[in-house]
Point group: C2
């Protein structure tokens, strides 16, 4: 028997930001590493957990429909996990394999049933590349892929055009902006702290502003003097409205996320007529529809990371019991780059 | 000397609907058909005027920028005109030619200067086809072309999909819906009177509702049971919100017009997050950018009209002095199909 700390969903929050110890609680259970496995089962030891803002959307009454299922009260939180297989009677997974799950359980050890195995993907690349396994939760995982699909498929980036990225220091945003730079775009980002602004300039953004202390529209006037050709929207609401008001003719809005819309009394743009007058194309997309681009994505980003042509930052919370605070940090915008919880070393 | 009745822009309206005799006045002037012409000049006799809702947007303070220039106080209203050339010393225009101008003057006769000639296009087709010259203001003109570009370039229509068209009995809407039918779509329209509903069904719409007497969302539930795959938006606001709430995954919104946004205190959609969740692509466009499709458009629509495969209705106001009331009708949605003012017979 080993100790198996779990992060349990305990209660549906009413405010946007949940409370650690009330809505999410730490539970100490035990795990039997010597238990016999039936056919198809395997055991994982979690290495790193991904903390994503959309987890808040899963903390809801399950009768409210959405594109992701609601969390179950009394069960562990679910999100992206990187794990190593510690024991297996599934022919597709060997002991020592590194595996990614988009809906892994927030616990130190998991027993994975045969019918759950399809949600696990082998991600052994880091053994060869030397890049940290946790990268498969960020720049080489779902958030990175989200930035890649958005820019490559829907952004139609062109040299010397202007790209504006909101929530630019987020896991998705930091790559979206850097991809713009690779195409020779002029790239401006907004984020919620001066530390994030500094970071954005360090990784190659041409300019950045703090939307919490500075007026968005005034700053777009100043920082995007030639107007916006691609707006990579992570925020929605008033930020989207200000961006639309700075869009050039034939510009594109990559509608990736609208994180401002999760909060209480969200605001909404009042200038949608401008989408017509300015001939704007706005495309909403969900990354999981674009699996056909995944190999190309991983190959390119790995290469650019190894060549030092792409920068990437993680905020690391150390220990699984820090997961609730890490989620609260993300919902309050305290993370700088991809928020990870480190559970164990490889 | 002949009498030359003009429709003069007299005052900027403050309410959405202008007042005849106050903001637009009828002015009787004279026109010298025997005056000598300098090189490049020609004279036109107007046959029909197009009444378009966007004229209201031109009745503004000229210091407010927009995609179309403001009307000048004391000068005739401008909009689409079909005319015949009555005298010419411009080698490109012969006596007897039928000519279209997108910004023709609302007066019985015009003297066109050489530098204005570029705004006139020869439209002699109706002499061969026998279709009325006024069709060049509607189904074979800018509104028809707007429907064609929207559906063909941005709608990506597919057999058995559902198309919803708002302001469906408008000049643009009636063709957009019929194009959907040609692709084998299930087509639903909304309009502001029971008479318009009847008309929509007569020209092949599968279903229709009156948005003034019936709740939009309830009707979309009923009439689009498989959801919406293409929304051809002429209205914006709450109609757009209801349509988004019925959009299928990977649906397209053709953002053609947002006529509800011209009124006082326009409403705006509050569910833009759904554009992401439902993977919707919304494209704003302006017809004049797509001149490359114009020949194909005119050839196809002429053929379909002559074969009786496309229906088309005009509301005709008889006499140029009826132009102010005709514009008021359009702004109040009283027109059934393309609103025309008949000025003279060919
Ligand atoms: N379409 C898809 O398939 C897909 C997939 C994954 C993610 N996404 C979207 O991509 C976006 C970024 O996700 P991520 O995982 O990269 O984010 P993340 O790393 O978790 O960071 C989110 C950041 O958003 C900012 N933020 C939070 N609330 C905000 C508000 N009300 N207004 C403005 N900014 C706010 C915060 O930074 P500040 O300091 O700047 O406020 C926060 O650090 C999200 O909108 C997410 O929904 C979409
Ligand atoms: N993108 C482009 O390049 C382009 C070019 C031309 C036209 N357009 C747009 O296409 C649309 C149709 O133009 P059109 O010339 O075909 O129109 P139209 O024939 O002049 O008819 C306009 C119709 O819109 C409806 N309407 C008016 N106010 C409304 C409101 N507040 N809410 C809902 N419906 C309202 C009325 O019918 P009801 O009885 O149904 O209310 C009216 O008959 C307009 O939005 C226009 O701006 C776009």
């Amino acid at each position: 028997m080993v100790k198996n700390t779990q992060v349990i969903f305990n209660k549906i929050p009413t405010n946007y930001v949940p409370v650690a110890g009330e809505h999410m609680v730490i539970h100490e259970s035990e795990f039997d590493l010597d238990a016999p496995l039936s056919d198809g089962q395997f055991m994982t030891k979690q290495l790193a957990l991904s903390i994503d803002s959309y987890m808040r959307g899963r903390m809801r009454d399950p009768s409210i429909p959405s594109y992701v299922s609601a969390f179950e009260i009394g069960k562990p939180l679910l999100c992206g996990t990187m794990s190593s297989v510690v024991k297996s009677s599934n022919p597709l997974f060997k002991e020592g394999d590194l595996v990614y799950s988009s809906g892994g359980r927030f616990e130190q050890y998991s027993l994975v049933d045969g019918n759950e195995a399809k949600d696990y993907k082998i991600r052994n690349e880091s053994k060869e590349t030397g890049l940290p396994p946790s990268y498969s939760l960020g720049i080489l995982g779902m958030p990175g892929f989200t930035a890649y699909v958005g820019m490559m498929k829907f952004g139609h980036p062109k040299k010397d055009e202007t790209l504006y990225v909101s929530a630019a220091a987020s896991s998705v945003g930091q790559l979206a902006g850097q991809l713009g730079k690779r195409f020779g775009m002029y790239v401006v980002g907004s984020a919620g702290s001066d530390k994030k602004m500094t970071y954005l300039k360090e990784i190659g953004f041409d300019d950045a502003f703090n939307y919490k202390t500075d007026d968005i529209s005034t700053n777009l006037d100043k920082q995007c003097p030639k107007g916006i050709d691609v707006y990579f929207d992570n925020v929605g609401g008033k930020t989207l409205e200000a961006a639309i008001a700075h869009c050039n003719h034939f510009s594109r809005i990559v509608a990736c996320g609208m994180i401002s819309q999760y909060s209480e009394n969200p605001e909404t743009p009042h200038n949608l007529m401008e989408l017509i007058k300015r001939r704007v194309q706005l495309t909403g997309y969900i990354v999981s529809d674009h699996a056909d681009m995944e190999d190309e994505f991983r190959k390119n980003i790995t290469q650019w990371l190894l060549a030092g042509e792409i920068n990437y930052k993680e905020s690391v919370a150390d220990g699984i019991e820090k997961a609730p605070e890490a989620l609260i940090d993300v919902l309050q915008g305290k993370n700088l780059g991809k928020q990870i919880v480190k559970v164990a070393d490889l």
